[in-house]
Symmetry: C2
Subunit: 469 residues, 2 copies
């Protein structure tokens, strides 16, 4: 290629175009290979994406039976196409998304169709020329009103798709009613096929490797806490190594950048919470699961991340802390940072396992005492000999760490509230409940075992009990 490009300068435009054309297949092939590699990585990063694609394929193939199977085609005819259309439009990655869109679509089709049939009845009161005018005016008024309603934030968050389908159905049915007298019959046929399409999408989405967006939200919140924890666990060591040696060793520094994605996670979390509200009972989530509390934890996590962003900026500054000052604050700062990091990790694991965050308490207490230690260190009045300018950055870092500790306490508090509201239960409590259940069935108490085998045990007790009188 280098030879070709040097030659380009001395040749005419046609030769250049020819060279470009000759190189085109190679370029296209390289692009295709790159695209395929990216696709492969996408699938490896989250294999649920591949499963989702296959599920959509299956759902569409299933729903196209409306056309291929004669009795079904004879029953629904051309309207079967609405079932195909519904599956394509409604099938989302998560159960919450599919349920939300499906329910929105069914309700909106029903109400929009009903209103259109009513409007059609009104329009038939007018004669030939009046009818399209009345229909047109009514379509205009309703389309404009509902379009305006879509700007309403509370409706937009959960019912935007439904409002659009309402306009769509209303316009389709009322407009086509002008040429088609059997409008009620047509509206019903479409409603049936749309309901069937929605149910096929929802059932396949739930039954085949479901992706519960509520669980995703929970993991996202916990992962964000882990990212902050990772940073804090490493920060103290890293900062004092830098200020001592002036440079850093070549270790892996990725733990120092993970928190960046937390800063801008708000919109994603809110969307997830909105979708999670559509999901019904599964595992230990219910209809009334306190999703808002997860958002509150997310907000506090972000506030902590803003402070960490500030801490991080001190890692990239050239400053040499005087050794006597460093030796005074190093121990307390490293402890504050390390213990609050550990506390965040424990809080994250509490959210993931849905257990009360009791194991975080000792770390919170330790980081609190380290923060208090720093305050008394400052008040001790041993600072007469220091150069204020040289000491200020390190002192700011230490006082930022105090802020991080108090920010972490707020997170812990909100997770405690969440644990109470969402009825997080400790592993021992679950095992004790199992024992009681076993006792009431006059079975031998079970020795403490891991949570998975515990769950298995509950099932074995539960199954025979169904057949007891």
């Amino acid at each position: 290629m280098d030879i070709a490009s040097t030659n380009f300068e001395n040749v005419g435009p046609f030769t250049r175009a020819w060279e470009w054309l000759k190189a085109l297949p190679v370029k296209l092939w390289a692009m295709a290979v790159e695209f395929a590699n990216k696709m492969k990585k996408l699938g490896q990063d989250d294999p649920r994406r591949i499963v989702h694609s296959l599920k959509v394929g299956v759902a569409i193939s299933l729903v196209s039976l409306f056309y291929y199977v004669r009795p079904l085609f004879d029953r629904f005819g051309e309207n079967g196409i609405w079932a195909v259309l519904t599956v394509v439009l409604v099938f989302e990655f998560s159960v919450g998304g599919t349920l939300g869109k499906g329910l929105n679509r069914m309700l909106a089709t029903l109400s929009g169709g009903a209103l259109a049939v009513g409007v059609d009845q009104v329009a038939t009161l007018f004669d030939g020329t009046g009818q399209p005018i009345v229909l047109g005016i009514l379509v205009f008024i309703i389309a404009a009103t509902v379009t305006f309603m879509r700007f309403f934030p509370a409706l937009k968050a959960r019912y935007d798709y439904g409002l659009m389908i309402f306009i769509l159905t209303f316009c389709l049915v009322s407009v086509s009613s002008y040429k088609d007298d059997e409008v009620l019959d047509m509206a019903c046929q479409r409603l049936y096929t749309i309901i069937i399409g929605c149910f096929i999408a929802i059932i396949i989405c739930i039954c085949v490797c479901p992706v519960w967006i509520g669980e995703n939200l929970q993991n996202q919140i916990a992962n964000n806490l882990e990212k902050l924890g990772n940073f804090l666990e490493g920060f103290g060591r890293e900062y004092f190594r830098l200020s001592e040696e002036g440079h850093s060793t070549d270790d892996d520094k990725s733990f120092l950048h993970g928190y960046k994605s937390v800063l801008t996670s708000k919109d994603k979390e809110e969307t997830m919470a909105n979708l999670a509200r559509w999901e019904f009972w599964h595992y230990r989530f219910g209809f009334r699961h306190p999703w808002n509390r997860y958002l509150k934890v997310g907000t506090l996590t972000r506030q902590c991340a803003y402070k960490i962003e500030d801490l991080n900026s001190y890692l990239n500054r050239e400053s040499q802390t005087p050794p006597e000052f460093r030796s005074k604050i190093q121990a307390t700062c490293t402890k504050k940072s390390m213990e609050s990091g550990k506390a965040l990790m424990e809080l994250a694991s509490a959210i993931k396992t849905m257990t009360p965050p009791s194991s975080a308490k000792p770390h919170i207490a330790k980081s609190e005492s380290a923060a208090k230690g720093f305050k008394s260190l400052l008040q001790a009045g041993l600072w007469e000999e220091i150069d204020f300018f040289e000491v200020l950055p390190a002192a700011t870092v230490a006082s930022l760490l105090v802020d991080v500790v108090s920010s972490m306490e707020k997170i812990a508090e909100s997770i405690n509230e969440l644990a109470t509201l969402a009825r997080y239960e400790s592993a021992e409590h679950i095992i004790e409940e199992e024992k009681e259940a076993a006792g009431s069935l006059h079975l031998q108490p079970i020795p403490p075992c891991s949570s998975t085998s515990g769950e298995h045990h509950v099932i074995t007790i539960d199954q025979p009990s169904r057949y007891l009188p």
Copy 2:
């Protein structure tokens, strides 16, 4: 209501239900009034929303002429419904949104339909039973592949709707081809009506009070800078008043909270930039307008906002700065804060008016010199008598303000780059260009005038020149 609720405790469930039912109309009426008030406020906040709703109503009424006007109905028949459907689905609030969806829909319908017709030709090679099986397998493969492609971030950002419509069209045409022999004809009819629907939506969206999302993005970036500027202009005064008097006066404090929305503006800005790329030439924006640079300014603005969030936390702390220390730093801190605030306001106004940010330079220079003044103040070594613990918060605030100044300088630099790339021009330059244009047409030079009348003048010169030989 109070009397009723006290009575409730002594009455039976039926009486209670009856009371509730009697109160229902009043409650419903109150809810309706509240909803209407919210709607009114929504319209008052942004009257473009009302205009958009009316535009959608007009577009749908227009497109339903396909049904009401006999020659059009005779030409397109039942397929006219696809034009109605297209307008409802494609019409978005902004020009960028409508253009993006419209182009996506047209291209996807064309390519999806073409592929389906090809697949149909392959399937006809097989006999009766083989045909639906071959069709089913091909539908499965293509639906699953394209669904997987929708996860690809680069495609998801701009072509997600197109990929969905591709699956939709392909499935609809290939599935219905099994029962309908005139598949090519049907596909063409639908394509025509969809193209007509898209064009009606796009034309009405652009011609009637268009909302350009690119301009919105520009305003959003400028408003965010203004919010930070507002905070900084007020911060210095507010902080030192608090640390002096221990409490704040009852002035309006809203300027201290405006910046909060900047912290989480990332997703919104990215969505806007993605839509803005669809918009063609208008006012002084072109196809190749550097939208990415706006995003860069947005990112730097957010980084400045994180520091401001930190500054804000110092406003809510109880701390009494020793008067001798306060008197030393108050002047330089207030100046840093005030001048960087003013600089941000000037930068915001440069973006809004698309002029080079030269008027911000004096403020940047002043805030830089104030920051340097603070550094030399610290290095002066006059700090032997101070209580480190009492001084630390104020010193941290002062050093945070130094960070804010350097953050503001980065913003100014990126806006300078943006101004070069987007060819921002000064008002004088525009007037001079006009003069030159007037000179070349042998007209009298125009006296300097406001930009609006200047634009008007250009048009009056331009129009006769078209008719010159």
